[in-house]
Amino acid sequence: MGKLKFLVAHWAAKASVVALKITKHNGTNFPGELAIKICPDFLKYIDKPETIIGVTGTNGKTTVCNLLIDMFTADGQVPLNNRAGSNINSGIATSLIHGANLFGKCKHNLGVLEIDERSALRVFPYVKPNYLIITNLFRDSMKRNANTEYIADILSKYIPKETKLVLNADDLISSNVAPENPRVYFGIDKMDSDIKECTNLINDIRICPVCHSKLEYEYLRYHHIGKAHCVSCDFKSPGYDYCAKNVNIDDMTMEIVDKDGLGNYRLISNGIHNIYNMVTVIALFRELGYKHGIIEKLMSQTSIVKSRYNAVPAGKVRVINQMAKENNALGSSRAFDFVSKEPNDKELILMMNCLGDEKHWSENTCWLYDCDFEFLNDEKIKKIIVTGPRYKDYILRLLIAGVDRAKIVDTAHEIDAPDLLDFTPGEDIYVFFGTDSLALGNKVLAKTIDLAKERGDK
């Protein structure tokens, strides 16, 4: 009965794929939603690729998935993936439906699946990755993810026992998930820019989870990312199986050291979060038996997806879209840190507004006080335009962060924000927006580029 129900669900979903194509509604989760509605354990019955690589974690999972898919593709493989859809159970079901024939048989040997942390309980009983990468665990949207302990507990409870974990040794939260599972660790060795004490507002593991004493860092990169040990007991960061050494931002190079030797890599981004993404991907490919030289060659053919960070020369300035997820203090903190360290003078437009929330209530503003707006108190940041429904909250937050009132300009309407820019030649203009305001953000970005070109022509 279960198998029959599955086939009915699968055929209905396949038919919906055709209907969606005809009506030009590609990229939705509808086929998966429909299939799960008809057959709640649809994921159990549909055939899966022989090798599944799962990617979960708070930040970087989309970038890591994109790198993996691009590199496997460059290697001549055709990985099944959920890049076009969502990372929850219905999105994964949709990908599997696309990748299966009419009888539910999978046409792919390899799958790369981005898996939402909270969806673990709906995905892992049926989809059992051979390898699961956990990029990191930080506090995320409080509305969905509550706190890191809650998410780590969910993962520990539902990750299949046979899955080999590829973990970030520099993250004491995710590196301790599912302690019984086989695992390898990646990380980045001490860097010149490292510190010893956390200066960020968010630090999700301040005390030892075993004896509750203070954690002392040998080096700390940002938030709780670094190498630490407990001052009172044996608890400490795990050692590296795949270690990035001699990371040189100026030369854009790094080495990866593992038990079998050393590989030399060119950096594809100078942001530390993206260097972590690179190391993550290299660790996975090494686990699959690829040689360093091959991995370097495959990686050299990839780039970071441009919807997340893209710099466009326009007129006499550069206009940069900077992804900063709404309601995610960590993501914005990392972006603010990165932008504040960039050498050029700059103007910013802040519009990380949760527009969906505005339809029903007022956006929860707690995250503003978890987020390091203090990074924006920087002499190279000449003007900050705050806009959208939360513009008054942004003004207050920036003032509390120490930003000079004269630098803060506001408008309620996002589309008016580019008109308030100075477009000083040689500067960078950053437009911060997230997925909830993607369409509007892209319009503001396009207008900024147009205005920059106009001013540049004068």
Partner: protein
């Protein structure tokens, strides 16, 4: 000098909570902010501090906090009776009730107020906001709150020293419009995050309770943001 004690910021700062007392201390140079680590004896045990703040924590840390505070239960009661200001936000409110039920486990809390809490960890997280009010020294104050929680409190809240009468949103649980605790100068609410930044009129009230100038840092901007959010909540919640 007025002493404001922030209890266990390394455990109780998961939604920007610590910025509440940080902001308050920046409002008036007469405030000394004491950050108390969970391994240290709280300042309120040995001295008469002017205000004690306890923020929201993870469920595991909440249980740890109850155990840390249990030895000081009598002292906390003494200070509450004396009129010391206490502010507890998020699930810190549950620390002061009788118990917290989590499936088969019953966690004994401090038992200073007559209510019990229940965690629903397997259910969808409850997210909502509220507009509520209470009578302060110079008239009613409208409070705005953000809720995001797995647990609710149950008790006879009609005959309970509740803090807020909820105009829009829910109270201690989905069946009541009574929210929080207000007894002498003890205030507690399920609302999360930087409660005093979201509620500048209440921040001013606390400064007056401490008998110091009630001017706020960036008063114009904080009042504008508050009024905007209040209007937005009333409009959007009423229409949803």
């Amino acid at each position: 000098m007025k002493v404001v004690e922030n209890l266990f910021p390394e455990l109780c700062n998961i939604y920007g909570e610590s910025y509440s007392v940080e902001y308050l201390s920046r409002c008036n140079g007469d405030i000394k902010l004491v950050q108390t680590n969970h391994k240290d004896v709280p300042a309120f045990v040995t001295e008469d501090v002017d205000m004690v703040y306890l923020g929201c924590s993870s469920e595991r840390k909440q249980e740890q906090i109850i155990e840390i505070l249990k030895p000081y239960k009598a002292r906390i009661k003494e200070l509450i009776d004396k009129g010391t200001i206490f502010l507890a936000t998020g699930n810190a409110i549950e620390v002061f009730g009788k118990s917290i039920k989590d499936e088969d486990r019953v966690i004994e809390a401090l038992g200073l107020f007559e209510f019990d809490s229940v965690r629903y960890m397997e259910a969808e997280r409850h997210n909502s906001q509220y507009v509520g009010s209470f009578k302060a020294d110079n008239g009613p104050i409208t409070m705005l709150g953000h809720r995001s929680q797995f647990s609710f409190a149950y008790g006879d809240f009609e005959n309970f020293p509740h803090w807020l009468d909820i105009e829009i949103g829910i109270g201690m649980n989905k069946e009541t419009k009574r929210e929080g605790i207000h007894y002498n100068n003890f205030f507690a609410t399920y609302s999360l995050g930087p409660c005093l930044i979201m509620n500048p009129l209440f921040a001013k009230y606390l400064l007056r309770l401490m008998d110091i100038d009630d001017s706020l840092l960036f008063e114009n901007e904080i009042m504008e943001a508050y009024e905007y959010r209040k209007h937005e909540l009333r409009e959007n919640l009423a229409n949803s």
